[in-house]
């Protein structure tokens, strides 16, 4: 059997952490992944950027809309996931519109976050348009 383990927490707890606490949590996570990998249990996984970065895509009557935020309705349940490689958010929206349940419910798009053992939380080189349009 394969299982998906979903991670939930209150982001406010994270925001209140000191830099050291945050770095140490990230190191623990990396160690956890290492351990699972060695035991052959780890298939794939990633941390996500904070919920502020979420965009929700829906298709209704053939018309796609994107809105800010994780606005899944409370009566909707998590039904699956796609890990997508996309150039930028517009590209990701375009791909998400093609996911069939976008017509029934909603597809929440969140960028992934690299877990680093260095406490370097704000990578400066992943600006979306820094090296395009040149």
């Amino acid at each position: 059997m394969k299982y998906l383990a979903l991670v939930y927490y209150d982001e406010n707890i994270i925001k209140q952490m000191t830099g050291d606490e945050w770095t140490s949590l990230n190191r623990e996570c990396l160690a956890c992944v290492d351990g699972l990998q060695q035991q052959g249990h780890y298939l794939d996984g990633s941390a996500l950027q904070p919920v502020d970065t979420a965009t929700t895509v829906r298709v209704r009557d053939g018309r796609a809309t994107a809105t800010d935020g994780p606005f899944a309705e409370t009566k909707e349940q998590l039904a699956g996931f796609y890990m997508l490689e996309a150039r930028d958010l517009n590209d990701a929206i375009r791909l998400a519109e093609k996911i069939p349940p976008a017509r029934l419910g909603s597809i929440e798009i969140r960028p992934l976050r690299d877990i680093t053992p260095f406490g370097d939380d704000a990578p400066q080189d992943d600006r979306p348009w820094a090296d395009r349009n040149r």
């Binding site: 979420a54 800010d68 996309a86 958010l89 400066q124 080189d125 979306p128 348009w129 820094a130 090296d131």
Partner: protein, 411 residues
């Protein structure tokens, strides 16, 4: 010289900012760079004279200063990796002509109005980044605190960076949907300035003026029929600004407005834009609403209004965007053309559909028709229903006035 530089700031700072955002890939850095560039201009131009192409000078100076700043902060290897791409020398900027700068302004507009940003953040970003209003000015116009507004803008910039919202003009397949979004933001800014009357009047007027300026900018950059239609609509409504309120702040309905107060030059400009947009045959709801506004604006008196033409325009509008509010406005026009009973029948049908039940103007329009039919008691109930739902003070005063008037008539 200082005055000239200030004039260049007013004219070019947003253009320069738009290009710096593209070159530096970051709103905050671009704003710092813009500030540095103008500081340099104030120091250098009085001695060396104003350069032939001030915007290009400001862009390359701002960019140089930003790179300099980053060099001081980050290791040299990092910076060469980030910024010293082959084509990104300052000369490339100086050589790029005005067309490139115009594209950057469009990029900025479409980024600020990206659907991935919350609607209120789109408005705040557009006013702050594209129009150059201060957070204090925007906060005042929207009756919120500068701190709340500043936080909204910071959050939007973080989302742009972290979620990967690209700095680009949408391609042809996305253009019409994304342009709708931009036009919606511009019209919301206009309406906030034109209709809502609860804030300080001066800052409200500034919003309407900014929306019109945005409309003009957008039309210069992207001359699509609906851009023309929206600008026309704003001009034709704004032309009545001095007549739609008494000095005491009471609303004056269209048919009672003093038409000599209407701004004729603005009406002419708006009407000409409508004619242009209609001639393309690719027009949409904004153009049609503008055409309706033009028919009102061009009538010498309220009685001379061409209601059959207005109903005809609403018919076309209903085909394009069949919303309950459009249907309501059409019903009111039908009442003017065919008499109150015809309009009342339509409005009652609409209200039976429930979508308009909580909309105060639907009940106000119904009350008005009942009053004209002499059904005073029903009219009073409908006015009271409208009053219970109305949020803005001048509208409430207007409805209360109507109720009081009828009371006097019956007694």
């Amino acid at each position: 010289m200082r005055k000239e530089i200030e004039a260049i700031y007013a004219r070019d700072s947003r253009k320069v900012l738009a290009t710096l955002i593209r070159l530096l890939g970051d709103f905050e850095q671009a704003e710092e760079a813009l500030h540095d560039a103008f500081t340099c201009a104030l120091a250098q131009w009085p001695e060396e004279g104003i350069p032939a192409n001030p915007s290009a000078w400001l862009v390359s100076t701002g960019r140089f200063r930003a790179i300099d700043q980053i060099r001081r902060r980050v290791k040299f290897e990092d910076i060469t990796r980030q910024l010293d791409q082959p084509t990104s020398t300052p000369h490339a900027v100086a050589d790029s002509d005005d067309e490139m700068l115009e594209d950057d302004q469009l990029r900025l507009i479409f980024t600020c109005c990206h659907p991935g940003l919350a609607p209120e953040a789109q408005i705040a970003m557009t006013l702050r980044e594209v129009c150059g209003l201060t957070t204090e000015e925007i906060a005042r116009a929207f009756l919120t605190t500068p701190a709340t507004l500043a936080q909204r803008i910071v959050r939007a910039k973080n989302k742009i960076r972290d979620a990967g919202i690209p700095y680009e003009v949408p391609g042809p397949s996305q253009m019409s949907v994304r342009l709708d979004e931009v036009l919606r933001v511009v019209y919301l800014v206009f309406n906030e300035g034109y209709s809502a009357t609860s804030g300080e009047q001066v800052s409200r007027y500034q919003l309407a003026d900014e929306a019109i300026r945005l409309g003009r900018l957008l039309l210069a950059l992207l001359p699509a029929p609906e851009v023309k239609g929206l600008l026309a609509l704003m001009l034709l409504q704004n032309a009545r600004r001095s007549a739609r309120q008494t000095p005491g702040g009471n609303l004056v309905p269209l048919d009672q407005q003093e038409r000599s107060l209407w701004d004729r030059a603005t009406i002419q400009e708006g009407a000409a834009l409508v004619t242009d947009a209609l001639a393309t045959r690719r027009f949409g709801p904004y153009t049609l609403q503008a055409a309706i506004a033009a028919v009102h604006d061009e009538a010498p008196t309220a009685e001379a209004t061409d209601w059959p033409q207005i109903v005809g325009l609403y018919d076309v509008l209903m085909q394009q965007s069949p919303t309950p509010v459009v249907a309501l406005n059409r019903a009111v026009a039908v009442a003017m053309r065919d008499g109150p009973q015809a309009g009342l029948t339509l409005i009652d049908e609409l209200l039976a559909g429930k979508a308009l039940d909580a909309y105060h103007l639907a009940h106000a329009a119904r009350a008005d028709l009942l009053r004209r039919l002499g059904r005073i008691e029903e009219a009073r109930i409908a006015y009271q229903r409208a009053l219970a739902l109305a949020g803005q003070e001048p509208e409430r005063r207007f409805l209360q006035h109507r109720i009081d008037e009828m009371g006097a008539g019956v007694a």
